[in-house]
Amino acid sequence: MTDSGADRSAKQILIAEDEPNIVELLTFILERAGCVTRAVTDGEAAIAEIRREAPDVLLLDLMLPKHDGYAVLKAVRGSADNAELPVVMLTAKGQERDRKVAESLGVNAFITKPFSNQDVVDQVLALAGAGAPAR
């Protein structure tokens, strides 16, 4: 977040998560992997932030206040500009049903909490490379 403007090749990651500890953790591991992160704590803010400036990857928690993860995902996929935005969904609910729903809505990756840090970083980087062109 701090010097994102300087590193233009760094991947922009938007973290939508309401648990402060998890935000801190995700920020820590992704920045260590060379990404630039922004964070929002609810669904509404996530949608606004994407509209303002689309990230390279969206890390989206499922249980968000004010529009949950599904609603945000739907909004993204239904939008004109960001329909192709790679989305990694995080959830503590860990039920197969949720994965099905997310996949049907067009999620790119689905990660259950608790997760391996390495796994999250790998998935995000893979999507960031394949997804929208770097700026």
Binding site: D18, E19, P20, N21, I22, E24, L25, F28, I29, R32, T41, M63, P65, A92, K93, G94, Q95, T112, K113, P114, F115, S116, N117, Q118
Partner: protein, 900 residues
């Protein structure tokens, strides 16, 4: 002026017409024409044999003397036909199924084919009917005298008239001839007499027309009803004290009984009934007929009282009113109407009584005489016919004798009523026979006997008594001179109308004896069988009596017997038909139990059930009545009823159970969903701290060059999240124990304020840390409750710590305020925090309530605190609720019941 000769000639002509009609009808029906038996109209008209000359002449007389009282005589039958139609239908059904030939046969059959009962009923019927026949003879002679003599002697004192043959004798002979010719022509199955029925129906029309014409004449000749009934007349006829009194009720009851119990009514309604469906028509048509008959009674009475001199016999107004107006033809027609009423009654009564006398008195005696037994050549059929004819002559002779003896008695009505009261004694046995399975022959005999004795003593005796005779002595002083036994004031019952008095005593005694006798005696096997067949005639009875009677006979003996009773043709037809039914083509049925029972019924239709049974017993060898089978049959019906009731009850229970199951199932499904939700929520709540723990630990492991303060911070998070995880698990276990009711805690009497004080003390640290001011305003009265101090503190700690933790006001405070009101201790925990937002109150207390958790981000909180607190409150008989919530703050209120 009509002369006696003319009147006699016309009356003879009319009788000739009746003979012709009866003859033709008989011949038509013999040729197979069924229009008489097919017509519900003819059936209904024949029932109107109820309206005798007593009705025809006497009703006007009664109206002139007693006002509206005459209506009761029509009210009773109307009520029965309109309101108790089911009784009639049951009678008719039983009559057809069992080939019942008379009311005596019915009562005797029901009570185990007891001939004693049959004889009792027969004798009673004869005693009750004889005065009635005499009444008809008297009416004919009096009216004859009035219409032909013109002597002005309207009292009809004919006994001293020696000018020629007494018309009563002529009438009696004529009626005997008619009845013998058409009533005993043959022994038809079911004792049906189409010729007689046709003639009776015709006479019913004649009498109705005659009465209507006289009535119309009266109304028109007076120029309308208002002239007929000036105020004085209306008052005289209509304003009587006795209307709707005890006598009114008793008269209605008697006439209702008569329409069922009079032998002649039983004959036309039940025995002559060809189809049960005819009863449906009669159900409304007969009351309509009675209404028409009633229509002009009052106008004629009023006309008689107005036009005729004082002292004129009101019983003859129907004749004398037209005669006074010189309407001789009308008077003659009225005479023919009255004649019709009288003759139809005499004919049907004679037939009914002759069947009873012959079947129940003559035949049983004859059957006991050796020389007439089966193997002799005597034709029983001829014998039966002979005994019938003899009986008819006997009855008419009795009537004639009674008429001669009682010629001085004036009022027709009183004689009719005495007869009504006599036959009313059949009613208890009849009704009990149809509806009370436990009624026994002994009960019926006792009841009948008691009722008849009281009827004779309280009603018949006083009517015969004259001053100075022995009877007169008894009436005025009581039997043996005992005041208590005075016939018209039995046991000191004074002040009643004699008729009311007699009916109350005789019917009460009759019914009481019937019930007592039945309760204290056992039914014989055959009786038990018959009672089941009669009472349950509309149910699908499990079988007829052949199931319970095992007997066999030589087929030739049976053939001989039935030929002699039924006639050769009819008997052979029965045999052929039954052989066919048994599937035998040689025309000879097997003499099995079913066939013997069938034959007994056919024969019973001709000679009565009791006699038929005696006859059949003659040829039957080895008869055993299987008591077990009878009990089974009776029980089966009972069981079927009980079973179906049990089934109904069962299906009701099943429905209830199903509903309960549905509810339980829904609840289970809801619980299951709740459990799933809960598990998934627990999983979610556990995964969140676990994610932090795992990932921060992983970050610490992987990162080599992490600044020490960042490492410390990560370890602090791991530590805090571990604590959160532990308290979460504790809360889950606590709540699950609370909800399953497994938690037992010490309950003591305590001051709840102490729980509040300790809770506030527990939160002091947190309050100091966050800078929240905590105030305590205790109640000014002390209260005691029963509960657990630690658990109550737990609730308050939860409430207070929530209020502290979530309070983001710049000057945060929490106030704990308690008071005692309406038998409850109440504590409010109020804060100036952000409120509960738009979270529904009931959701607030559910597990993992969200909403507040949003505000609690990053702070310890499990989402189970309020759910646990609410559960603890509930288990203390108390209540926890959110009473205020706004952006200015919120208030949770706990109330607990105060103990005494």
């Amino acid at each position: 002026m009509l002369t006696a000769d003319v009147v006699v000639a016309i009356a003879l002509g009319y009788v000739g017409l009746l003979f012709l009609l009866a003859f033709l009808s008989d011949r038509w029906s013999r040729k197979g024409s069924r229009w008489i038996s097919n017509s519900p109209l003819i059936y209904t008209l024949s029932i109107s044999v109820y309206c005798t000359s007593w009705t025809f002449y006497g009703a006007v007389g009664s109206a002139a003397r007693n006002g509206l009282e005459f209506i009761t005589i029509y009210l009773g039958p109307t009520l029965v036909f309109l309101g108790w139609w089911y009784l009639l239908r049951k009678l008719v059904r039983i009559g057809q199924v069992n080939r019942i030939s008379s009311i005596a046969d019915l009562i005797s059959s029901r009570y185990g084919k007891s001939n004693t009962l049959a004889v009792m009923v027969t004798l009673m019927a004869v005693i009750g009917t004889t005065p009635y026949i005499a009444l008809q003879l008297k009416a004919v002679t009096t009216s004859f005298d009035v219409v032909s003599g013109g002597s002005g002697d309207l009292l009809g004192n004919l006994s001293g008239d020696n000018s020629g043959i007494d018309p009563a004798l002529l009438v009696a002979v004529g009626m005997a001839l008619f009845t013998i010719l058409f009533g005993t022509r043959n022994l038809d199955a079911n004792e049906q007499h189409p010729g007689v029925v046709a003639a009776i129906a015709f006479e019913a029309l004649v009498k109705l027309l005659a009465l209507l014409m006289v009535g119309l004449f009266v109304v028109f000749s007076f120029g309308g009803l208002e002239n007929l009934f000036p105020e004085e007349m209306s008052r005289r006829l209509l304003e009587r004290e006795n209307v709707f009194g005890g006598r009114w009720a008793v008269l209605t009851f008697l006439s209702a009984t008569a329409i069922i119990c009079l032998p002649r009514e039983f004959q036309v309604t039940v025995v002559e009934n060809a189809r049960e469906s005819h009863l449906r028509t009669a159900g409304w048509l007969f009351p309509a007929y009675l209404l028409l008959i009633c229509l002009f009674i009052l106008p004629i009475a009023a006309a008689g009282l107005t036009r005729l001199p004082e002292g004129a016999n009101p019983d003859m107004f129907v004749l004398t009113v037209p005669m006074a107006a010189n309407q001789e033809m009308l008077a003659l027609f009225a005479f023919i109407g009255g004649f019709s009423s009288a003759t139809s009654m005499v004919i049907v009564a004679c037939i009914a009584l002759s069947i009873m006398i012959s079947n129940h008195i003559v035949m049983p005696v004859v059957l006991r005489l050796r020389w007439l037994r089966l193997y002799d050549s005597a034709d029983l059929k001829t014998l039966v016919l002979f005994s019938r004819r003899f009986s008819i002559l006997l009855i008419l002779f009795l009537g004639l004798v009674y008429y001669r003896l009682s010629a001085q008695t004036e009022a027709l009505a009183s004689m009719g009523l005495i007869a009504f009261a006599g036959v009313a004694q059949f009613l208890p046995s009849l009704l009990a026979g149809l509806y009370w399975r436990q009624a026994t022959a002994r009960g019926a005999k006792l009841g009948l006997m008691g009722g008849v004795v009281l009827w004779v003593y309280t009603l018949l005796l006083p009517s015969l008594a004259e001053e100075g005779t022995v009877f007169g002595q008894i009436v005025s002083n009581g039997l043996f001179g005992w005041e208590m036994l005075r016939p018209e004031a039995l046991f000191g019952m004074t002040g009643f109308d004699p008729l009311v008095h007699a009916i109350v005593w005789s019917m009460t005694a009759n019914t009481a004896l019937l019930i007592a006798g039945s309760l204290f005696s056992e039914q014989a096997p055959l009786e038990r069988l018959q009672s089941a067949l009669f009472v349950d005639v509309f149910r699908n009875t499990p079988g007829d009596e052949s199931r319970a009677l095992v007997r066999s006979a030589a087929i030739d003996d049976l053939r001989l017997l039935s030929r002699r009773i039924l006639g050769a043709d009819a008997a052979d037809r029965q045999f052929r038909d039954f052989a066919l039914r048994q599937g035998r083509d040689d025309g000879v049925p097997v003499a099995d139990t079913a066939f013997i029972t069938h034959l007994e019924r056919q024969i019973g239709g001709n000679v009565g059930a009791a006699s038929a049974r005696v006859m059949i017993s003659e040829v039957v060898s080895g008869e055993t009545i299987s008591l077990d089978e009878i009990i089974r049959m009776v029980d089966e019906t009972q069981q079927v009823i009980e079973y179906s009731q049990a089934l109904e009850a069962n299906s009701r229970t099943l429905e209830q159970t199903a509903a309960q199951l549905r509810q339980a199932n829904q609840r289970l499904m809801r619980l299951d969903t709740e459990k799933d939700d809960f598990l998934s929520q627990v999983s979610h709540e556990l995964r969140t701290p676990m994610t932090s723990i795992r990932s921060f630990a992983e970050a610490l492991l992987k990162a080599d060059e992490m600044p020490p303060d960042q490492a410390r911070r990560f370890m602090r998070i791991i530590h805090d999240e571990s604590l959160r995880l532990t308290s979460l698990l504790d809360d889950i276990l606590d709540l699950s124990h609370l909800e399953s009711g497994e938690v037992r805690w010490q309950v003591e009497r305590l001051d709840p304020e102490t729980a509040a004080i300790s809770a506030i003390a527990a939160c002091e640290g947190l309050a100091a840390e966050t800078g929240v001011r905590v105030d305590h305003v205790p109640a000014d009265t002390t209260a005691a409750i029963r509960g657990n101090r630690d658990r109550l503190s737990q609730i308050l700690i939860n409430l207070i710590s929530n209020a502290i933790k979530y309070n983001d006001s710049p000057e945060p405070w929490v106030r704990i305020e308690s008071r005692v009101e309406a038998g409850r201790w109440r504590v409010d925990v109020r804060d100036n925090g952000p409120g509960a937002g738009d979270v529904a109150p009931d959701q607030l207390f559910s597990k993992f309530a969200r909403g507040w958790r949003q505000i609690a981000k990053g702070r310890s909180g499990t989402g189970l605190g309020l759910a646990i607190s609410a559960e603890i409150a509930r288990r203390h008989g108390g209540d926890l609720s959110l009473t205020e919530s706004s952006e200015q703050g919120s208030c949770f209120t706990l109330t607990l019941p105060v103990t005494q």
